[in-house]
Amino acid sequence: MKFIEKCIVKQNKKIVENIYMMELESSNIVTKSKPGQFIQIKVNAQNDPLLRRPISINEIKEDNRIVIYYKVVGKGTDILSKIREEDTISLVGPLGNGFDTNINNLNVAVIGGGIGIAPLYELTKDISKNNTVEAFLGFYNYTYLTDKFNKYSKEVYVSTVTGAEGYKGLVTDLFEKRLNKQKFDLIFACGPKTMLKKISDIAKKSNIKCQVSLEERMACGFGACLGCSIEMTDGSIKKVCTDGPVFWSDEVKFDE
């Protein structure tokens, strides 16, 4: 079930650099949301920018609140960052399939890069109940959310490109190092396409099942515009918004 819902902004604040956290009060969307799903946000009431902006659900809180993390990269996210507490914005959601969390007693690696770390948090919270989770979080310079991951993960490995915190380098390297010592049954990954491709390669080589969350330019977010269609390895066409955004990594063509 998907909803169009006007939600009250309960918090909207800068976390680090250009990354913001927003907490929204929802009565419908929140009830149906799952880890890995996303919402479509209309950032203002005008025609410019016209389209909603897709943002992943970071956390589903008990008090009917949805938390999102977003990076200011352009016009839409800039407007979003200026919305004040108690303002109302329109959401459509929950959208997409979400991660497959129907798993038990597995050794799971959760790997995120940049803003792609955000959607993995609710997932980690969820699967940590019945599985062992190690989180690999890659940042450029400033880290965020690592504390929260700590709570639900056996281990949290942090990398930064600049070396400001944790391992200096890419999170994929960090993960490969860990793979030498630890066996994983399943990978969940979200982040830049190059990172996902790398992880997908590693997963294949190491014979680990792997789910990746993709991004695509979207107009609707609920399957109507066909703007987000991608061709899969088997030649079929899938919609990132409804068939995804989470796919098994071996289904995804990374070199289009």
Binding site: F3, I4, P49, A219, E256
Partner: protein, 306 residues
């Protein structure tokens, strides 16, 4: 308030309960909107553009946002007309909604083939897309040449008994002569406008924002052009007009009706508010009641030009 307003209308042989339809390619096959609205309340559902064979469409990126508008180059991704008839049409008809099949072909023969196939189904009408700018053959060429418009309309007319709508391309010098020839060719109705051919460039990669280089512009940005064309066409044809292009509000609908549209279609607006069609039907009804207008006929073409 117990008053009622008459929203119904007839297009060719087709009776519609209200004049609000969906823009082809923006409403899928209706299912996508199930969670948001009761699609049976729509005037009609115009489905995604169909081709004889299934098509995978264009490569991504297919979408780019522009000021108050968007570009798309979907390239007619669709499961083909047969799949539509088998898998999608029954669902829609079970809902009790009027269904209009939007069709596109590479040749006149293809259009006729599809029309013949659809003629034998429960599908209520055909909207001939002779204007889609994304497909190299059969796209712009058909809809921008008045002689071809006459030819293709009259050929399809021969193979199709039900309501035949011809959808016009706005990328033309003279929309009137195109509309006149569609009417002469036997169209029951004219719908307009399809998207305007546009482009956007990513200055960092120096590449077009669409893999197809160019795409169709839709949304509020194009409304003034759409409205002008509806008005122009309404002056030269006697068949019903379905107006579209950037409609997102009741005011937009009234504008189109005053300009001469008997019905309207909502396209891009659905992406932003998936319940917009139903909301607008309700708003239109209230508007008529509140303004003591008994029927939409009292609006259509009632612009008082200077």
């Amino acid at each position: 308030m117990n008053r009622k307003a008459d929203l119904s209308l007839k297009i060719g042989k087709l009776y519609l309960d209200n004049p609000i339809m969906t823009g082809s390619g923006t409403f899928g096959f209706g299912r996508e909107y199930e969670d948001f609205i009761d699609i049976s309340k729509l005037g009609a559902v115009v489905v995604k553009g169909l081709t004889l064979e299934p098509r995978k469409g264009n490569k991504r990126p297919r979408i780019a946002e522009t000021p108050s508008g968007m570009l798309n180059s979907i390239g007619l991704e669709n499961p083909g007309v047969k799949h539509f008839i088998q898998e999608e049409l029954p669902y829609l008809k079970k809902k009790g909604v009027k269904v209009i099949a939007n069709i596109a072909g590479n040749t006149i023969e293809e259009y006729c083939k599809m029309a013949k196939i659809l003629n034998k189904t429960e599908c209520d009408a055909i909207e001939m897309n002779i204007s889609c700018p994304n497909v190299k053959k059969g796209g712009v060429a058909f809809g921008t040449d008045k002689d071809i418009v006459y030819k293709i309309t009259s050929e399809v007319r021969k193979c199709y008994d039900k309501t035949l709508i011809v959808k016009l391309s706005p990328n033309v010098t003279n929309i009137k002569e195109i509309a006149i020839n569609a009417e002469k060719g036997g169209a029951d109705s004219i719908s307009l406008i399809n998207t305007l051919l546009g482009m956007a460039i990513d200055i960092n990669t120096r590449r077009p924002k669409l893999k197809n280089n160019v795409g169709g512009l839709s949304g509020p940005a194009i409304k003034p052009i759409a409205l002008r064309m509806v008005w122009q066409v309404s002056q030269v044809v006697n068949i019903p007009i379905i107006g579209m292009g950037g409609i997102t509000s009741l005011e937009d609908i009234i504008e189109f009706m005053l300009a001469g549209a008997n019905a309207v279609a909502i396209g891009t607006g659905n992406f932003i508010n998936p319940a917009i069609t139903i909301e607008l039907i309700e708003e239109l009804e209230s508007y008529l009641i509140n303004n003591e207008i008994n029927s939409i006929n009292e609006l259509v073409g009632k612009i008082r030009t200077y």
